[in-house]
Symmetry: C2
Subunit: 435 residues, 2 copies
Amino acid sequence: MRAVDLIQKKRRGGELSGDEIRHFVAGCVDGSIRDYQTAAWLMAICCQGMTFAETVELTRAMAESGASADPGELAAWAVDKHSTGGVGDKTTLVVAPLVAAAGVPVAKMSGRGLGFSGGTLDKLESIPGLRVDLSAAEFQRVLATAGLVISGQTAGLAPADAKLYALRDVTATVDCLPLIASSIMSKKIAGGARRMVLDVKVGSGAFMKTLDEAAALAQTMVAMGEHLDRQVVAVVSDMSQPLGRAVGNALEVQEALDTLRGDGPPDLWELSLTLGSYLLALAGVVSEPAAARSRLTALRDSGAALERFAAMVAAQRGDRRVVDEPALLPRAALVDSVASPHTGYVATIDAEVVGRAVAELGAGRAKKGDPIDHTVGVVLHARVGDRLAAGEPLLTIHARAADDWHRARDRLLSAYMWSETPAPQPPLVHRVLGA
Amino acid sequence: MRAVDLIQKKRRGGELSGDEIRHFVAGCVDGSIRDYQTAAWLMAICCQGMTFAETVELTRAMAESGASADPGELAAWAVDKHSTGGVGDKTTLVVAPLVAAAGVPVAKMSGRGLGFSGGTLDKLESIPGLRVDLSAAEFQRVLATAGLVISGQTAGLAPADAKLYALRDVTATVDCLPLIASSIMSKKIAGGARRMVLDVKVGSGAFMKTLDEAAALAQTMVAMGEHLDRQVVAVVSDMSQPLGRAVGNALEVQEALDTLRGDGPPDLWELSLTLGSYLLALAGVVSEPAAARSRLTALRDSGAALERFAAMVAAQRGDRRVVDEPALLPRAALVDSVASPHTGYVATIDAEVVGRAVAELGAGRAKKGDPIDHTVGVVLHARVGDRLAAGEPLLTIHARAADDWHRARDRLLSAYMWSETPAPQPPLVHRVLGA
């Protein structure tokens, strides 16, 4: 089997067999197929697409490309939650402790931010001392201790995904449904997850810009779950404006803690309830997702969920005092608010523009491995549909220096569109599949 | 300008500007753009195509990517001839001395064979001692001495083409009109050619398998000539069956010499006359191509063309005695004929199958740099439309050993289709553009 023939077959729109896909993925990992051949193959996939059968085979080949995780007994019945990435998306930090408090173990491998999109690991590392590079043994120990663990992917898991992702990032082959679906699902499968809720974001702050694209991705992953013996629920949720108010690492941790204390933004709480309900249903703790809502609310109100969060922080060697003393989180040197330049209704807040502004403040990275600043970011005081008078506080920027602050202000103001008449609020959840 | 953005623009079907194309080609040559990015870009071009304006800009950028040839005074009014490649295509060896004998200098940079397709340089090197790696100074000296020179491309000319071609060969991006057209034309332009006849082959033994594809390529290159201040005539000629009778390096040199002596296969002579006529017309020696035919025939019959060939061989340090003593050409150890297995008309002879069989005998190379055997090949005794009785000689195989001979026989016999009723002969020339 020659790589060039497999590239040609895909270029011509042919359907690759499981053997052919396994051959390519294995060759890509062991280096017998060169990066330029893989890049050409990825572009041919972007242009010609992949059938569902090919996407499943690609996922399987990637999942089996490295070591298999032995997640341990407890993780075998744990649940997992994954987001396709957005701006201000700190849902994991709220949902995971809520679900753990309900007695369902949550074993979650998270990622780092890239481009305009944040990552859960970066956010957690705002907490002094907290470690996210757990070994497999540490991962199991934290899960057993706290009922909840959030860590980076174990080394050696699905190396094909790491390899392909790095190439996709520099060859304009990121936004392609079969490649996105196989990347997400292969990591989940290699990690041992059997029951998962996928939060598929749609809108300007997501990879999927239209509802059709997002729904197609969600549908594909739910169907892949059936073929690969995994239970998958996909929630298509809105990312046309940032989620919650805070965007930036430490600021988002603080907002998640506020939310677990009953004091968070309503959209973040509502989405957390929705995702949490499906997780409880998947775990068999409730028969219907609707029944889970009051239970999760009670676990918030009792402080049980916050306690789980604190237990996880402690088990991962972080300073658990931050849970009660947010002042222990690092804070930017310059914090100042921006007044609304208009009187009127907020019609849109372009989430991608906000994400890029915050990344430019230092909270994100242009390429893998870049250092980030946990302190910087923005807190938005209004959401789409809110009415403001000129001069009222619109947002607060946390920056390292005045230059940064001014640049971010200009960029952030450009994210807003205003309306004289009441503007409709976008729905928070567009669609749920697989439930 | 980031490479990834230029790849994305092409992936989305956008039209790249001249600046963008120059940036990519320069980066590809200086290494600042990595091979995997170039490979993805090439595949995006294959899938999305290029506009005529993009193709012209790509050609210009490739032509200007290295040193410019100073072809010298004589070469400035020389003519050039180029074939897109076929099986048994030794036309250059006939046309070039004919046209030179008519007083028009012929300065030709040729290539080597790859895959099932032969190359003029490999054929010429069958002649003991003959050199095809001439320096620019030697190139001009041979041209001045013999009125005719055929050599490899000067080092440093259009390095972008060499780089892109090597990548295309291993990434299934060879057969793509704008990439083929820019590859051919950039080399011609960098080499200094101002007037040229392009022989665009069509059929199973050519890169272009259909007349539509071949005509589109021919039309594009003629139009590019107008934009780049070059006079270009394109002849779309048949390659559904091999040209002439001989396929293999020394065997083709011998057939070319036979043809210059008036003793060659009619199709090779006819195509040589056609191409030669357009070359004389481009050079202004005749006002109409038709007027050139009797003149070229007279130059064959007088021996003047053969004398030019001999002069070129001598000037390129080859043994000029081969012109009169073909026995001085190297000869394979095992030469034996194959009888026709049928009585009937030859309906088709698949040129690609013949080319692959001869390459497998050792006359061709699987990849650039492989050594080749000048002695091996095949002589076909019948053409499409001929009638044979079972047992009559169908072809003669020149091989190194019996194993090779038998393998080639089976493969070659599979190239034939037979008919009970008279089979039509394909036209030799399908179309002429730019004349």
